[in-house]
Symmetry: C2
Subunit: 923 residues, 2 copies
Amino acid sequence: MVAKAAKKPAAKKSARAPKMVYSFGGGKADGKAGMKNLLGGKGANLAEMASLGVPVPPGFTITTDVCTAYYANKRAYPKGLDDQVKKAMAKVETIMDQKFGDAKNPLLMSVRSGARMSMPGMMETVLNVGLTSKTIPGMIEKTGGNERFVYDAYRRLMTMYSDVVMEKAAGVEPKTEHDAVRHKLESELSRVKKAKGCELDTDLTADDLKKLCDTYKKIIKSTLGKEFPDDAWEQLWGGVGAVFQSWMGKRAIAYRKIEGIPQEWGTAVNVQSMVFGNMGDSSATGVAFTRNPATGENWFYGEWLINAQGEDVVAGTRTPYALNKKIKNDENKQYKSLEEAMPKLYKELVAIRNRLEKHYSDMQDLEFTIQEGRLWMLQTRTGKRTGAAALKIAVDMCNSKMISQTEAIGRVKPSQLDELLHPMVDMVEEKKHSAIAAGLPAGPGGGVGKIVFNPERAEEQGGKGEKVILVREETSPEDVHGMHASEAILTARGGMTSHAALVARGWGKCCIVGCKALEIDYAKRQMTVNGKVYKEGDIITLNGTTGKIYEGALPLIVIDPAKNKDLATFLGWCDKARKLGVRTNADSPADAKQARLFGAEGIGLCRTEHMFFDPERIIHVREMILATDDAERRTAVMKLLPYQKKDFLGILEAMKGLPVTIRLLDPPLHEFVGSLLEDEKALQDVAKATGKPVSAIKARIEALHEFNPMLGHRGCRLGIAYSAITEMQARAILEATAELTKKKVKVLPEIMVPLVGNVKELANQKAIIMEVAKEVKAKYNLKKLDFMVGTMIEVPRGALTADEVAQEAQFFSFGTNDLTQMGCGFSRDDSGGFLPLYVEMGIYPADPFQSIDQDGVGQLMEIGVKKGRKTRPALKCGICGEHGGDPSSIHFCHKIGLNYVSCSPFRVPIARLAAAQAAIANK
Amino acid sequence: MVAKAAKKPAAKKSARAPKMVYSFGGGKADGKAGMKNLLGGKGANLAEMASLGVPVPPGFTITTDVCTAYYANKRAYPKGLDDQVKKAMAKVETIMDQKFGDAKNPLLMSVRSGARMSMPGMMETVLNVGLTSKTIPGMIEKTGGNERFVYDAYRRLMTMYSDVVMEKAAGVEPKTEHDAVRHKLESELSRVKKAKGCELDTDLTADDLKKLCDTYKKIIKSTLGKEFPDDAWEQLWGGVGAVFQSWMGKRAIAYRKIEGIPQEWGTAVNVQSMVFGNMGDSSATGVAFTRNPATGENWFYGEWLINAQGEDVVAGTRTPYALNKKIKNDENKQYKSLEEAMPKLYKELVAIRNRLEKHYSDMQDLEFTIQEGRLWMLQTRTGKRTGAAALKIAVDMCNSKMISQTEAIGRVKPSQLDELLHPMVDMVEEKKHSAIAAGLPAGPGGGVGKIVFNPERAEEQGGKGEKVILVREETSPEDVHGMHASEAILTARGGMTSHAALVARGWGKCCIVGCKALEIDYAKRQMTVNGKVYKEGDIITLNGTTGKIYEGALPLIVIDPAKNKDLATFLGWCDKARKLGVRTNADSPADAKQARLFGAEGIGLCRTEHMFFDPERIIHVREMILATDDAERRTAVMKLLPYQKKDFLGILEAMKGLPVTIRLLDPPLHEFVGSLLEDEKALQDVAKATGKPVSAIKARIEALHEFNPMLGHRGCRLGIAYSAITEMQARAILEATAELTKKKVKVLPEIMVPLVGNVKELANQKAIIMEVAKEVKAKYNLKKLDFMVGTMIEVPRGALTADEVAQEAQFFSFGTNDLTQMGCGFSRDDSGGFLPLYVEMGIYPADPFQSIDQDGVGQLMEIGVKKGRKTRPALKCGICGEHGGDPSSIHFCHKIGLNYVSCSPFRVPIARLAAAQAAIANK
């Protein structure tokens, strides 16, 4: 997007022009905090602060409407703006008793952006506007002859202005980054410093800076073909135009896309009188948080620098000092805190801190400047914080009655809670390293360990207490033992719902998948990443929250959620607020117990196929699959009964008193035998066990191959074609139920028939289950056996005919993974070729496998719930797809009236929070 | 199902019992033709005939309600039935002046089934009921001492009765078929004939038969442990019970399942006085059709036998004589026709024929018996007929004002029309041969030719005029030239919608797929079928209508539809009646022209991918796919432009004046390159053409492999990721349009974007097309370019969000193949493992890939049409899936208000008929 320079507005006065400029300062303001849409966050807060009597440098805000009009009108300003700006400037001049562009008593201004939502670093700022050959002498006089200060300010203005206004906003595109004007000016500064043998800018004399300013002017002219403007008002309008231009800059557009900020919002422009923290040792500048943004502790937290401007604190060129004694650290303990250096001003600042936090009822991020002993507040805004801090602040503020429980619930983002539940890579340390590669962030948190390329060795070394990271092309159910023993998992292939991703999330384990840069050589036990070789045993660090991979060990930050009382308190509030139940997806007693600790109210999805991969059992599974007639199949299947029964005894007992939804066998049979074609030994074992020739086994395996296994012979289609499977599974579940019932353990199994698209499929399977139930009741001499039979709604036809399906189903569970695959026609395994592009192009707002496609797949869910409840008003409806742990999907589930969501154990707390937020939002 | 013997009804009289027995005979009847539901087809027609004054042997019908009550009441008869039967019998006795069970003047009765719809051979019959030791002497006396006749009748009664009543209805299950009572009795008959040295039953003397009857009684007693009943009434009730029992017999249940006859309908029982065609040379029996059921010609057509019973005509043990001189054939020309042998009776029969056909306004199937010079009509019913006959009779009857055009349209089944459009295997000859194997009937009609296993050789030999049948494991788009050159296609794998099936149906070519018995050895050029080897060059015959395969050449019957004036007349009537438009699916000018001849009103689906497989082009397609950047891809794609433009010039011109829907590229790219992995030469060619190393090409091909290609990177997802493809295709279509427009040829292209699930996908593709349109208009200096842009609705999400999609789409075409795959979650390529079972189990009433699943997929279509037209009321909606040629699907399309259906050229006439029938049915 090539931007045209903004035209200067017509000076012609228009009596009817709407209010486009809002003044603030001197203890009053035209605007207020509630006017963020019009004034942007910064402008609204400046107005609010001014009204509160907080000392704010006076200024004015040009509204976001002007930005919108500017773009609607081919980048021209609306009529009357010029006039309103002049009037507002006059007010500032009155308050400051200075005059903009005046030779004797010049007023300098800053020009800053300010959108409705903060977009840090995305838009432009110009400081020291108003310094010209005409005003410089007056400025020097005003500062008591501080030439050094004035030329330093002038240098800064020229650097910013030439970059932001004359180059970027004018659409000049430097050929290389060395050709950029800012680069040239900074090189010149370095050159001068080097020539003078000094290290810091402050080491340069007034004369050095004066000369530098002259050189700067020449460089600007030669680089951009234009003179640096020497008129205060021209500078001002240039700055305003640059801010508006920057709203449509590449960086801003990209950021808005990520954050979902609409383009129509526009930005406001804040023009504010300059105050200087660099006017000598009675001047200073600083940034502060009203509470610790990392931990949430209720201490005033911040940094400052004496004789400096704001950018110096942020830029990292000087080590900032601590705001008070309490928060000094190793790096700044030798410097005086503001509390020590300027105790009176510090006290004033603390009072403002208290006033602002109380006023906004939230932790604030403050910017202040002290100019020659006078404190000015430049900004207040809601402070960004870590997950731990968000939780602590919310709980503390609620406990001290600053906010209600409902407000507290709204103060913690589900993603922040996620941080608390996993070891995280230390962000400060992480910034110091470059990632060697990146993949998809499939399992959050951090992991450090030795690379191991094989699940057996991972299990062996992990068993010895070594921290290992399993690195594979992709994983399969047969790798599960090695995955479990590893700290983290890294794969070269697969997407966010690949096997590795699903399993890792289920365990709350750090996992990165689809890292295409990895070239793995299993034979040599090494991988090559962008040309560099990593051997088995080399240590790497994964950041599963971002998908980045680092060489060596980075420090991890671990918070033990079990010991966090605030977490328990907070989730308690969430539980009171929410309507949706929260269950978990768990396939083992261990997972079930873990999930109970996290607050799961039942199991929403217990997959039974994972149980089949145990080495003791897989041979019988394979016998079953390779059987050539029903009798042979039945014999093989029934060998699995004792194992399955033991599984269910464990899980049902672990979840006693809570419902457990058990899904009958789902995957295509090929999954259990496909690997045999590449494993001669296993193939021989099977041949021995079944007494069948290897050639016949191979032929059968090949016959099971499907073109589109996703839509093939799986789900209830298996149980219908091979009824013995359903019979065995039903018997295992119901005998386990009967035995526990006899022992007075209250268990509530819900048998779930998968992939039902037609009520007759369910009727067929239910009949088998009910027949088994009759036999089990007789066998255990029980009058009653508590269980339900329901189905997964995951085929579009199942949702569309839910009224019929509900005639047989006692509950529905939406399998939104498959419903998305079929509803949208996306194979999740193959969507890598187009889905990222679709999200990038905005065809879908988000990956529909991560967040429910509410317009499409959501319609099927709504139809399913409505039609199902038409037939059976009390029909229990839940969701057990991956979406059950996604906050925006949870909101949707609340809206359409589901009874519960089910997610992986580590996402249960997040789901509890999201469900509470959904209930509050829909009140 | 083990049947209990029916209990004899209680004799107690019940005054309130409903009417359960309807009498007929003597010129009047209680019932009439309209009472088929209650009296069954046969009973209603007997009543109707009696009322018409046709000489019908008197009798009575026990209603279907009694059958229902019988099964509802544990196989007991309702109260009062006994009484009503006795009264009805008394009426018969009065008319016949004979008495049932009377020693002196005995009356004999037949007991026959009669359901609402004819179920030929599925249920039981007992004749000669009432012959006992008491009545035999009287019977002998009545027949003037014809002992031979009476004992022959007695033998027949015993054979039928012991089999039907004493064995089958009683639920006795013989261990082997040799233990069945009928087998034993028939063996005895053979033994006696052999011992006497005679060939025919009629050669046996009265004494022989009398002795045989004694032996029969002993065999019955020893086999079934019961005496043959010697009481007339006991025989009668036994017969009635056996008919009711047979309604739930295995054969009847299986038949009902196939024909979709509900079990609740039940059968009636017809008890009718016996008349005998075997009482000497003045007696005879015969069957007749009022018109020729094979050709439809308006000649009285039938066969008769002198001195015989009905079963003799049907059984084939004696060669039946022709009814009249005109229809004598080589086999019966030496025998006198009825016209010659009994001219007076023949005249009487002709009068009855005329009366009945006029009365029923349809061709009738008659049964008659002449007893000692007196004509009796035993049955009249609507005659079954071939497709050719159905058409001719409908047109003739309409032309002679017997029926209206609307009625005529209803008289031809769409499947009968299908017969007319293909060469058919001669059914008479086919019956004499056993099939060597069977597969799925994928392309109807018959085909005879030499086996060829390779498409190149098929093309070569076919090009020389040889008739060849291409036999393959399965076919791919690269085999198309060989398929085209063949008479018929046979594959070992694939389903009804496999490539071979789709292509063959498109061409109206005979095709059998998924014939699992074939073991093909390409290297040896032979196949083994159930152990027998067939070499290339061996001749086989395929019946693509039934799926059967025969060794050698069977004769084919060919009717040229183009020369059939009746067909043109008939379809003209259909066109007047129908509301739905009928288009065709055609990918070439030749197909387009063929379809126009069949009455297509446009092309509903022109697939463009088939055009890519031409050897000249495929290399550029592969270059495009293997391109590593956009520029390279664009260069390769644009090489295809002249070819595609030529394609579209041809097709658009062939369809001038009619709309042509052209679908943009749809299949996953792997389809164009997958075969390279097994074709080293082609791989080298591609390496040469692209300048890429073979290893890189292989890697790219492997990367294109998808787990579920059906849901992968295909359809508009290709055009979105690689916009050059869409641009090239749009340019080819629109430049062809522009050139033809310049030449004053009226063309109406409709550009169809496939696989749209989200309006934004369509918007993206439409923008490219509209941009190209602008350029083309400028290039050709045209003010206007007539074309539309629309989409295929084939993803469930597309249907669900049709209101949004219609904002961009100017038309919808339902792609019901894919909509079924995704809506039901069935991969059509993999459904062989469970879908046949599903249809067998009644989970789906029919294969949803053949006939639209109206409850599920149909809902998506309805939603699509409704929501689409909400946004764009005039939205043109059609269907282009395989279902567009299926009559029941066409009815559904009419019902939901589609504008047109589109089907393969050879199904166009069928669609015209089905559309007319749908319009009539929904009036």
